[in-house]
């Protein structure tokens, strides 16, 4: 936790890089709950970056995004979006925010095009301008042929695209994506990832919450790993993985007693830095990968453990999360 320091409460204190989001000591207790959903969170999201909040369900990601989006009222602490105090001036802050929530919140009474058009009107666009931008976004998000259709006609992926189009309509300073690909089919997920990269390429600042480590890894410039309302680590995905100090993750399944197998492997391969067992499999994080598989297999078989299966992979953010919490992301 020492890797994260609370930021100053005042945006004035910011030096250098522009911060689009800034929080200090941001805390949320839900009524009746004994532990804080978000616990003294200090966060700084820079302009034009994709910032990821990664953690299991209940880690406090959505609550954090909710507080920044003015929907959740903090118990204490401060939060600024685009320099505007979201607690003190929520109505003004909302001008700077675009939100794509986990659930489909499209207006069921309106057509696809009208959903965009009225969003524009809501944010003060005059009628002709709103119509023009709606059409432009429909084109860009490949929804033009659905313009006049009911939103009921849209597939999950299309509805998600329309929600993103709606959220960026008023050119928000920060786009919030809350678990944007939860429940999407793989193809739609990839399409959404492309979209996120494209928007970010145009300079859009994005705050993304996710419990898919791959999503955080693929999309985010920086990732804050959260658990129990706190940030456990915050860095670029590559740096987070490097912090494991292991280049390789080996998963090995073998017959026989796991304890003795582990002892045997550790003495034969001293580069093993971290290990844990999951069912009948051993997960080993190894520094250096010189002839790793043959050495492991030989060591196991020599001690009478018949190797059933072995796989080798690079470390993921999931491994980082496990090393920080001792639990898997989906537990």
């Amino acid at each position: 936790m020492s890797s994260v320091t609370a930021q100053s409460a005042s945006p004035d204190a910011l030096g250098g890089a522009a911060a689009m989001i800034q929080t200090s000591e941001l805390t949320k207790f839900y009524p009746g709950a004994e532990v804080a959903a978000v616990d003294h969170l200090g966060l700084e999201v820079r302009a034009a970056e994709v910032f990821g909040l990664l953690g299991p369900n209940g880690a406090g990601k959505t609550t954090t995004a909710g507080m920044l989006g003015t929907r959740v009222v903090p118990s204490s602490g401060r939060a600024f979006v685009g320099g505007v105090d979201v607690v003190g001036e929520p109505a003004r802050a909302k001008q700077l925010i675009g939100v794509v929530s986990q659930t489909n919140t499209l207006d069921r009474q309106l057509t696809v095009q009208e959903n965009l058009y009225f969003h524009g009107r809501l944010f003060g666009f005059a009628a002709p301008e709103s119509r023009r931008r709606a059409d432009e976004l429909l084109q860009r998000f490949q929804l033009s042929e659905w313009a006049g259709a009911s939103v009921f006609a849209l597939s999950g992926g299309m509805a998600q695209r329309l929600m993103v189009a709606r959220a960026i309509f008023h050119r928000p300073a920060v786009l919030f994506l809350d678990e944007p690909t939860a429940g999407l089919d793989p193809q739609s997920r990839l399409a959404l990832w492309d979209l996120v990269r494209e928007l970010n390429g145009e300079g859009q600042t994005i705050l993304l919450t996710t419990h898919y480590m791959e999503e955080a890894d693929q999309l985010c410039n920086r990732v804050a790993i959260m658990d129990h309302g706190r940030i456990l680590a915050l860095d670029r995905p590559a740096e987070l993985k490097r912090s494991l100090d292991a280049e390789t993750v080996v998963v090995l399944r073998a017959r026989g007693d796991g304890e003795s197998l582990l002892a045997r492997l550790r003495s034969a391969v001293p580069e093993i830095v971290r290990w844990r067992s999951e069912g009948d499999a051993l997960e080993l994080q190894v520094k250096g990968a010189e002839r790793l598989v043959p050495r492991l297999v030989a060591a196991a078989e020599e001690s009478g453990h018949e190797v059933l299966d072995i796989s080798v992979a690079q470390p993921t953010l999931e491994n980082v999360f496990i090393s920080l919490t001792g639990r898997a992301l989906r537990d």
């Binding site: 945006p11 004035d12 910011l14 030096g15 522009a18 911060a19 689009m20 839900y30 302009a47 609550t63 909710g66 989006g69 003015t70 929907r71 959740v72 009222v73 685009g82 320099g83 505007v84 001036e89 929520p90 109505a91 003004r92 909302k94 001008q95 700077l96 925010i97 939100v99 929530s101 659930t103 489909n104 919140t105 499209l106 207006d107 069921r108 009474q109 309106l110 009208e114 009225f118 009107r121 809501l122 944010f123 003060g124 709606r166 300073a173």
Partner: protein, 286 residues
């Protein structure tokens, strides 16, 4: 100050201007939906009044089973009581149908409200916009219903109507806003799965004890030990003031004094609106 504040923070519009635009857009949206569903609006607005007048002013007199006594004089007297009552009940039903039902759905089922409250204005304005468009529909309903109530009846049965314009043009909007606020309160209170309860335990009692079929004064004979209990209980029913008010606006029939009707209706409006807004905030903000 860092550079982004100049570029972003001060690039925001004044909240008052942004709120005005947002409020207008919210009402425009509701009116567009109304226009799209105009046929449905008219049908749902007319069906209940039509059935009421059809049964009471056509069927009953025709089969000699009239409410309010036999003979065209007594029947017409009842028609005079019923027609304003029907206008009043239509206003109330708009509060339910145009505000309570959609809100309950948007809160509990579609979650559309979550996006609506991201509008760049105070949250309460989102609720206010619903009340405004609900009230507009209430006024519209009153206008649509009136001809039906005046036209459908058996031969010889005729409501004696005389329009008091200034009462009409003040009371209908006032009643519409009050009932629309009631809709806000109910819509933010009842989950979609409990809508049946709302109809059974709120809407139905309000309807039957709302003075649609009788003048409030006429309840006096119902008493226990000298206490006119029913007359007293129905004073808690906001609809009674609406129907009595419509009687004042549309007929020469007896009605509660206007100096009671107006202030009490304003009071109900204030209570419904403040409780409704409080519920709304609680449901939206965590």
């Amino acid at each position: 100050m860092t550079s982004f504040q100049g570029a972003i923070g001060s690039a925001t519009r004044p909240v008052s201007a942004a709120s005005r635009d947002a409020m207008r857009a919210l009402v425009l949206r509701d009116l567009l939906v109304l226009r799209k569903n105009l046929g449905e609006f008219i049908a749902r607005t007319l069906i209940q009044p039509f059935l009421l007048v059809f049964i009471f002013l056509y069927v009953f007199p025709s089969i000699g089973q009239s409410v309010g006594g036999h003979g065209s004089v007594r029947e017409s007297a009842f028609a005079t009581v019923l027609v304003p009552g029907v206008v009043g009940i239509s206003i109330m039903f708009q509060g339910i149908q145009a505000v309570a039902l959609p809100l309950s759905t948007e809160f509990g089922y579609t979650r559309e409200i979550e996006d609506r409250v991201q509008a760049p204005c105070p949250i309460s304005l989102v609720a206010m916009a619903k009340v405004v468009s609900g009230a507009a529909q209430g006024v519209l309903a009153a206008i649509v219903v009136f001809p039906i109530a005046a036209v459908v009846h058996a031969e010889g049965v005729e409501a004696h109507l005389s329009v008091h314009l200034w009462i009409l043009v003040t009371l209908i909007p006032l009643a519409s806003v009050a009932m629309s606020s009631l809709g806000l309160l109910l819509g933010t209170f009842f989950e979609p799965r409990n809508i049946g309860l709302m109809f059974g335990f709120v809407v139905l009692p309000l309807t039957f004890l709302g003075g649609t079929y009788y003048e409030w004064e006429r309840l006096a004979p119902i008493e226990v030990a000298g206490v006119h209990w029913l007359q007293i209980i129905v004073l808690l029913n906001p609809l009674i003031y609406v129907t009595e008010g419509m009687r004042a606006a549309l007929t020469e029939a007896q009605h509660m004094p206007l100096y009671v009707i107006y202030p009490v209706m304003v009071l109900f409006l204030a209570v419904f609106l403040s409780l409704g807004l409080r519920n709304f905030r609680r449901r939206v903000l965590a």
